[in-house]
C-alpha cells in the first residue's frame, strides 16, 4: 500500500524501526539474562571436568558428582592479585599432589583451550583435555577423542608428532592423519603449555 506525506515517509519508518528494535532487544536480553547462570555453570563444569581428566582422575558423568569431586580434590592456586595461576590436585592417600594449568593457543579455525596436567615434580604429564576447540569435525576435532588425549599420559615434552600409529619414544605422540595443521597447532599449544607450567608452578610455590 502507498502512503504519502512527511509523516508516512520520514517519521513513521523511524518510529516503527525503533519500536521493533526495542521489542527485539528486550526479548533477546530477557532470554540471555534468564539463562546466564546456566551458561556460566556450563562453562565452569567444562573447566572442572577437564582439570579432573587432565589429572588422571576418572570423571563422573553426573555434573553434581563432578562438582563434589572437584571440591574435594582440587585447590585453585592464585597469585597475590587473586588471578588464577594453576590447579593443585590432591593425590590419593600419601601420593604427592599434581598440577594442572589451563592454556590457550591458536588452532586451525579458532582458539584451542586445554587443561594440561603434570606430576608433582613436573617430570611427566598426567594427561590433557580440551575445553574449547573449533577444529574440523571428523578430522581436527579428533583431538578430543580418547586415544589422542590418552597418549600424553606419563610422557613428557617437548613433544614430537609422528605419523598416526608410529609413536614409540617417551616424547613422541601420534598426529592425526588428514589434520596436519591441527596436529601442529596442538603440538605448539602443548609445548608452550609445558614451558608456561614450569614457570608458573615455580612462581606459585608449587614445587
Amino acid at each position: 500500500m502507498k502512503r504519502e506525506g512527511f509523516f508516512a515517509e520520514r517519521v513513521y519508518p523511524v518510529l516503527f524501526m525503533a519500536l521493533v528494535t526495542i521489542v527485539c532487544i528486550s526479548l533477546t536480553s530477557g532470554i540471555f539474562l534468564s539463562t546466564e547462570d546456566l551458561v556460566r555453570s556450563n562453562e565452569t563444569l567444562f573447566i572442572r571436568r577437564a582439570v579432573l581428566y587432565s589429572a588422571g582422575i576418572p570423571v563422573p558423568t553426573n555434573s553434581q558428582e563432578v562438582m563434589n569431586l572437584y571440591s574435594q580434590r582440587v585447590e585453585e592456586v592464585t597469585d597475590s592479585d587473586g588471578e588464577l595461576l594453576f590447579y593443585r590436585i590432591q593425590g590419593e592417600a600419601g601420593t604427592p599432589a599434581s598440577f594442572s594449568i589451563v592454556y590457550s593457543g591458536p588452532g586451525l579455525w579458532g582458539e584451542i583451550t586445554a587443561a594440561l596436567g603434570f606430576s608433582g615434580d613436573l617430570s611427566r604429564m598426567t594427561g590433557l583435555d580440551f575445553i574449547k576447540q573449533n577444529e574440523t569435525p571428523g578430522l581436527g576435532a579428533r583431538i578430543t577423542e580418547a586415544w589422542f588425549k590418552e597418549q600424553f599420559r606419563g610422557k613428557m615434552g617437548p613433544f614430537v608428532m609422528v605419523p598416526e600409529g608410529t609413536a614409540r619414544g617417551s616424547s613422541e605422540v601420534d598426529s592425526i592423519t588428514g589434520a596436519t595443521r591441527t596436529s601442529d597447532a596442538v603440538l605448539t599449544l602443548i609445548n608452550g603449555g609445558i614451558e608456561k607450567a614450569e614457570k608458573i608452578i615455580a612462581l606459585g610455590g608449587g614445587r
Binding site: M1, R3, A8, E9, Y12, P13, F16, M17, V20, T21, C24, L27, T28, I31, F32, T35, L38, V39, N42, E43, F46, W109, G110, K132, Q133, N134, T136, P137, G138, L139, A141, T177, G178
Partner: protein, 202 residues
C-alpha cells in the same frame, strides 16, 4: 483455501525445494552436514527460525513501511536466531561448541530471508507459517540425507556410532567441504534427473 494450504506445504518439499531446486542455503548445507547429530540441531534451528520469522513478518506486513522492510526482516530473523543460539548454549553446550558460528549464520541464510521477502510479505500469517515450516522441513530432509551419506562414508558411523566396522577405510574427503560439493551435486543429479521428471510425466 485448504487446497492452497496443501500446495503451499507440499511445494518446498518437492519440485520447489529450497536446497535442490532453488539452490539456496548452500553455505550451511556444505558446512554442517559432515556429522548427522550437528545437522539435526542445525536444521531444527533453521526450521524454528524460518517458521516463526515468516509468521511474525506476515503478521506485521501491513505495518512495515516498504522502504525499510529488509531492515525489519533481518532484525526479526536475527532475534529468533539469537534465541536459538542462547538456548543451545544454555541447554546443549556440547553441540553449541561444535556448531560454532553456523548457528549465527542462519541470520543470513537465503532460505529464511527468501521466504519472508517472497512469501510472508504478501500472504496472511497462517499460510506464511505453513510456508516457513515446510521450507524448513524441505531443507531438513535434504541435509539429513546428505549428512547420512557423508558421515557413513567419511567416518563409518551414524550419530557417532560406528556401523561399518574397523575394516572400513574412511573417505576423509567426505567430511571435508569438497565432499559436500560432490555429495550435493550427486543428490541434485539423482533427484532432478531421475526422480522429478518421472513425477511430472504422471
Amino acid at each position: 483455501m485448504k487446497g492452497k494450504a496443501k500446495k503451499v506445504f507440499m511445494d518446498p518439499l518437492g519440485a520447489n525445494n529450497p536446497v535442490f531446486a532453488q539452490i539456496l542455503g548452500i553455505c550451511s548445507t556444505l558446512a554442517v552436514t559432515n556429522v548427522v547429530k550437528n545437522t539435526v540441531v542445525m536444521t531444527l534451528g533453521l526450521t524454528f527460525t524460518t517458521t516463526l520469522s515468516s509468521l511474525t513478518i506476515s503478521a506485521l506486513r501491513k505495518l512495515i513501511p516498504s522502504r525499510i522492510r529488509m531492515m525489519v526482516e533481518t532484525l526479526i530473523i536475527a532475534t529468533y536466531v539469537i534465541i536459538v543460539d542462547i538456548v543451545l548454549r544454555a541447554f546443549l553446550p556440547d553441540i553449541w561448541q561444535q556448531l560454532g558460528p553456523y548457528v549465527g549464520l542462519i541470520i543470513t541464510n537465503c532460505i529464511v530471508m527468501g521466504r519472508t521477502e517472497a512469501f510472508a510479505l504478501s500472504n496472511p500469517p497462517g499460510l506464511s507459517l505453513i510456508d516457513g515450516l515446510s521450507s524448513g522441513l524441505g531443507y531438513t530432509y535434504v541435509l539429513l540425507i546428505i549428512a547420512f551419506f557423508r558421515e557413513l562414508l567419511g567416518s563409518g558411523s551414524i550419530w557417532g556410532i560406528s556401523v561399518l566396522g574397523s575394516q572400513w577405510t574412511n573417505w576423509s574427503i567426505m567430511i571435508m567441504p569438497p565432499g559436500a560439493f560432490f555429495m550435493l551435486a550427486v543428490f541434485i543429479w539423482v533427484v532432478k534427473g531421475k526422480i522429478l521428471p518421472g513425477e511430472e510425466k504422471k
